[in-house]
């Protein structure tokens, strides 16, 4: 098997706080193959966006990043800014969560798309660049691109802006597209359109996509594999199908149980009790233990290692406990 397109090993991100350095992401391993869609799932603050910003080299200077990030075989963790700049936008691109704020309000849509093309294609003529930008707008189904080209972001709806953001991201046919909650800020029908665009990009251009989300439905529909992040660590990782059918980590099981289902006749939504630990209160044991129905004393004192079980990798002391496996398959 060829080396993965993106291969992250032991990634850690620390944030300086008044009380000292705090680990927001610890020991995250993560890989994406060419043309593969990988979901990165977790609650707010679980470190999903931070780890991907670390890949892009876009974290604030005072954040600490350690570990190895290999992109197409090349180590890019701590690579010089000049090298990262050449990759960003060219081979690594990103779609941001909030289309309302991701576009510069004082530049035309056309200027913002052509900037992306020009930055990485110095030899292209003005007309060629414009032509390419127009075809990109068409590719993301913006009607009347000629007229839209000279308009400003405030003249676009949220869904259209997100499509423009995607058009910018795919302008140079990147090998890897990192989509940070690309549908969170949009309403459901627009979400469906965006998902369709992603599915097409992957099919037509063979683009690998990292899908950062807390929307499990999105992962189920689009991703091949998924990684569940909790409090800055990988809780569980595996192919989407088996993972949805038989979660091994209690946290994954709770997440799945929290998804409202049409068949579910009970009136209450299943919520996970409690909140994730904040940066300052990270515990010696498993970070999920305080919220876990199945925690044993060991969970509170020692951090579980990632262990391979079947096609998945799980960080849970009771992952091999057959009793637990049955319980998790049928959520309470």
């Amino acid at each position: 098997m060829a080396a993965p397109l993106l291969d992250i090993k032991g990634l850690a991100v620390t944030i300086p706080t008044r009380a000292g350095e705090r680990a927001a992401v610890s020991n995250v391993d993560f890989s994406v193959d060419r043309g593969e869609v990988v979901g990165l799932v977790g609650e707010s603050g679980s470190g999903k966006s931070l780890s991907m910003l670390a890949v892009m080299g876009l974290l604030p200077r005072h954040f600490g990043v350690s570990g190895s990030i290999r992109f197409d075989g090349e180590e890019i963790a701590g690579a010089p800014e000049r090298r990262l700049r050449a990759l960003r936008g060219r081979r690594l691109a990103m779609v941001f969560q909030d289309p309302m704020t991701a576009l510069n309000p004082v530049k035309t849509i056309g200027a913002q798309i052509t900037e992306m093309i020009r930055l990485h294609n110095a030899g292209m003529s003005r007309a060629q660049v414009r032509q390419k930008a127009l075809s990109l707008l068409e590719a993301v189904a913006i009607p009347a691109p000629e007229r839209r080209f000279d308009q400003y972001p405030h003249e676009f709806s949220g869904g259209m802006r997100q499509r423009v953001v995607i058009a910018i991201a795919i302008a140079n046919d990147p090998d890897l597209l990192i989509a940070d909650e690309p549908t969170t800020a949009l309403d459901v029908t627009i979400q469906a359109q965006i998902i369709e665009i992603f599915a097409r990009l992957r099919a037509e251009r063979g683009m690998a996509i990292v899908l950062i989300t807390h929307d499990l439905g999105l992962v189920a529909g689009l991703a091949d594999r998924m990684n569940v992040l909790y409090a800055g660590r990988i809780a569980e990782r595996g192919p989407v199908g088996p993972l949805f059918a038989a979660p091994r980590h209690p946290y994954t099981a709770s997440l799945l149980a929290a998804v409202p289902s049409i068949d579910d006749v009970s009136e209450r939504l299943h919520a996970i009790p409690g909140t994730p630990p904040s940066l300052s209160e990270r515990l010696p044991g498993c970070a999920f233990a305080p919220r876990c129905d199945f925690a044993v004393p060991l969970c509170r004192t020692s951090l579980p290692d990632l262990t391979r079980i079947g096609g998945s990798v799980v960080a849970c002391h009771r992952a091999n406990d057959p009793a637990l496996a049955t319980l998790l398959k049928e959520p309470a």
């Binding site: 910003l53 892009m56 876009l58 800014e81 700049r85 050449a86 990759l87 960003r88 936008g89 060219r90 691109a93 990103m94 941001f96 969560q97 909030d98 704020t101 991701a102 576009l103 510069n104 309000p105 004082v106 530049k107 035309t108 900037e115 992306m116 930055l119 990485h120 400003y152 405030h154 953001v165 910018i168």
Partner: protein
């Protein structure tokens, strides 16, 4: 946008009338006798001279009468005649305005360029040594009194090191070029006098720097705050994710947004300096509006005082209008909103 401009222009005469009325009244209620500067203190005992002067300058009439006459004349473009220079005030102002504008424009260039540069350094290297140094420099500009700075600057650069010329617009021995625009830099060039141009430019350096430094402080603090705000926006991360170089992100993406709130300050400061450059003009013997205002106030020269105030008010109104137009030019969201 055009509608806003037209509406503003239509309101302007009424605003000016308000300014005129307030100034006129304030000047009337000031203690002191303007006759001193008209006929001299020695003639005050001479009843005949006093009566003649009062009749000549209209001071024998009641305040409401004088006000009505003044506004009537003003509506016909007559600002009255200065008690002191015995010239029409309009002519005095026209003679002196270019000198002030030349100084203020140079000071604004120094202040805006310097302030923006300081703000970029500050925001980019927030809380670093460079940030602290830039902020101290800006703060000093705002705090240090310009009359003191002016004197120190003259002492250091003109008296001690002789790097730059002393007060005035041109070397005393130089022959002034024929007045065309009143701007020394322009008139010397029009006259083909390159040496005169260089001389005028050298004379502008110190007063522009001193006046510009005070502007720099306000601009730097405003732009730094809005830069910090803008740099935290998603579209900045997006610009970086495109692979744009840091400087491009800072100037092309961040500054274009951060300058919008600063436009108000720039417009306001410009208008303020037209009459507010008094101290710098006095110290550098600059024959502009500021020094004219001081002389007028000293001799209770009502027509001149009111004339300067109207000019200042007009400056503010025009600066406000230009600021609004600049806002629309800088921010596409404003274009339809107004």
């Amino acid at each position: 946008m055009l509608k806003v401009v037209v509406r503003r222009l239509l309101v302007m005469p009424f605003l000016l009338l308000g300014i005129v009325t307030a100034t006129f009244l304030l000047a009337q209620f000031t203690k002191g006798n303007p006759l001193v500067s008209i006929i001299g203190a020695r003639n005050l005992d001479n009843a005949e001279v006093v009566a003649a002067a009062k009749a000549r300058w209209g001071l024998d009439r009641s305040v409401p009468e004088r006000y009505a006459i003044y506004v009537w004349n003003l509506a016909h473009g007559d600002l009255g005649t200065s008690f002191r220079t015995k010239q029409p005030v309009l002519k005095d102002l026209a003679q002196r305005l270019p000198a002030t504008l030349e100084l203020v424009i140079c000071a604004m260039i120094v202040g805006a360029a310097g302030g923006i540069a300081l703000a970029i350094v500050s925001a980019e290297f927030q809380n670093s040594l460079a940030d602290h140094a830039a902020r101290l420099l800006a703060l000093m500009g705002s705090c240090l009194p310009v009359f003191w700075l002016g004197l120190i600057a003259l002492f250091l650069f003109s008296v001690q090191t002789r790097l730059l010329p002393g007060p005035g617009r041109l070397d005393i021995r130089a022959v002034a070029p024929p007045t065309v625009t009143g701007f020394m830099l322009v008139d010397t060039l029009l006259a083909g006098n390159v040496a005169g141009f260089i001389d005028a430019a050298r004379h502008l350096v110190l007063p522009s720097l001193v006046l510009g430094w005070s502007v720099m402080g306000i601009v730097a603090r405003m732009v730094r705050a809005s830069m910090l705000d803008v740099l935290g926006q998603d579209y900045i991360t997006m610009a970086r994710a495109k692979g744009a170089a840091r400087l491009r992100v800072l100037v092309h993406h961040a500054l274009a947004n951060a300058l919008i709130p600063a436009l108000t300050i720039l417009g306001f400061t410009f208008a303020y300096l037209i009459t507010g450059s008094v101290l710098v003009e006095t110290i550098f013997s600059w024959p502009g509006i500021g020094s004219y205002a001081v002389e007028a106030a000293r001799s209770l020269d009502y027509p001149a005082i009111t004339g300067v105030t109207i000019l200042g008010g007009l400056g503010f109104l025009i600066a406000n209008l230009i600021t609004d137009v600049a806002y629309a030019a800088a921010d596409p969201r404003m274009r339809e909103a107004t």
